[in-house]
Symmetry: C2
């Protein structure tokens, strides 16, 4: 039955040569201002090989909610998404921000396709169970249908992923953009050699937080442990890097933390297992 085996289901080292795919996650600020968005899309268009863009949009959502008289409630840096706020993020993430990026990419000859998890049912989630905090209409990712995405990417289409998923029961759910990027990267690793790139305000993870040039160029699990134990890496960077290693263990080739104007250079902190 060897002929009927789908090569792409082999572990990466047995799958032969796979195309290179870069998944870039950018935060809200950069994509929410016309000038910085234009620069970003020009840089993004220079990335060679297959690519995917994942965007946030929190500042725009907060601003739009305020205009509509809806208060933004945050707990531990996460948005509480009640039904009114769900409509706001659906409009802002799925409509305003996503479609402006798609139109901007088409203008630089990138054949973009804007998606929420509901589109093509590419990412299904479940509403987060209520524990100490009721986050409301927030989704925890349960299933990624990467095959149809991979097929489109292989044809030169560039998916632009909004931070929204769905539960397959008709409900959209607000979902963290870092999570979308990580889950898409893991699932697409079956089909591509994936570089997952997180954009950050700094040029990478810094050895000295007061020196913007002190970028740690390579980070492995061993080095990460060392930097955590001696206090060089601390705070919110620890879970971010733990998630990066989790993506690597799940098949992603490398994770790069860099500044948005460096996405086409591969400079920054390159995180890998070896």
């Amino acid at each position: 039955m060897i002929n009927s085996v789908d090569k792409t289901s082999f572990p990466p080292h047995l799958a032969g040569i796979k195309g290179k795919l870069t998944i870039v996650k950018v935060g809200g600020k950069i994509v929410e201002e016309a000038e910085s968005l234009k620069k970003l899309l020009a840089d993004f268009s220079k990335i060679e090989g297959y690519k995917v863009l994942v965007h946030g949009g929190g500042r725009s959502a907060t601003a739009m909610a305020a205009k509509l008289g809806i208060e933004s409630k945050m707990v531990n840096g996460r948005r509480i998404t009640d039904s009114e706020m769900l409509n706001v993020v659906t409009m802002v993430y799925g409509g305003l921000v996503n479609k402006q990026i798609v139109a901007g990419l088409q203008a630089v000859n990138v054949n973009a396709l804007g998606l929420t998890g509901a589109d093509l049912n590419y990412m299904r989630s479940e509403k987060r169970p209520v524990k100490e905090v009721d986050y409301g209409f927030v989704g925890d990712v349960k299933e990624v249908n990467a095959d149809i995405l991979a097929d489109l990417i292989g044809k030169g289409v560039v998916p632009v992923l909004a931070p929204l998923t769905h539960d397959k029961n008709g409900n959209l759910l607000n979902t963290n953009a870092d999570t979308i990027a990580g889950e898409a990267a893991k699932a697409l690793s079956k089909h591509f050699e994936v570089t997952l790139m997180y954009c950050f305000e700094k040029k990478g993870v810094l050895l000295d937080e007061n020196d913007d040039e002190s970028v740690i160029t390579n980070l492995t699990p061993t080095l990460f442990e060392k930097y955590v134990s001696n206090g060089i890496i601390q705070g919110g960077m620890i879970p971010k890097l733990e998630n990066s290693f989790e993506a690597l263990y799940a098949g992603v080739k490398q994770v790069i933390i860099t500044r948005s104007d460096k996405i086409h250079t591969n400079n920054g902190t390159v995180i890998s297992l070896l």
Copy 2:
């Protein structure tokens, strides 16, 4: 060179058997209320063969604009789209309405994909020239790239088209949903045997406007001329039907005008050339 000829580029009668595609256009009112939307999507899911849904959203856009303190200006029943209003329609059509439909269709196992004209560059337009009226950021359709749409449709994907196009220079443009449906139908006729279905408040075009049951079941160019000359068909229905005939002359198999609860029955006024 006969082997290299793309069969789908032949005129319909030479192209062999093509798959049946139904393109349903529904107005804003039905898709903007949860209950009527749910009923519509259930009926839509019962349509056999390939399908596409095209939606409006004008009432929601007007309501959202009002909440944001933006006045909706209409001339001859058409919206004037200034830059603020363009943001509103991008949010409402491309985000809120489109994504709720997509999520609703996924819940009834229809593999929906929400699109604006910018997505996949499937519909390019140009900003309408300013003549007596400056409609603002409104697009006149110039180019439909149906091949990639047809490929997705052939794989079981159901495009959900929002009434937005783009100019390929980074600008989204507000575009009438009837026009989107008609242009998509014409372009997709190269690949499919297309039925274009316009939903209407009545069960079809009526012989007697005071009798909802007096539906004209078949309309040909000859009958249309007769009904116009004797005053049975008048007013806004004339340009609507002229557009329907134009679609037929451009390759669409039939146009059906029906009520939204009849979309899965093929009842209504069937408009054809013979």
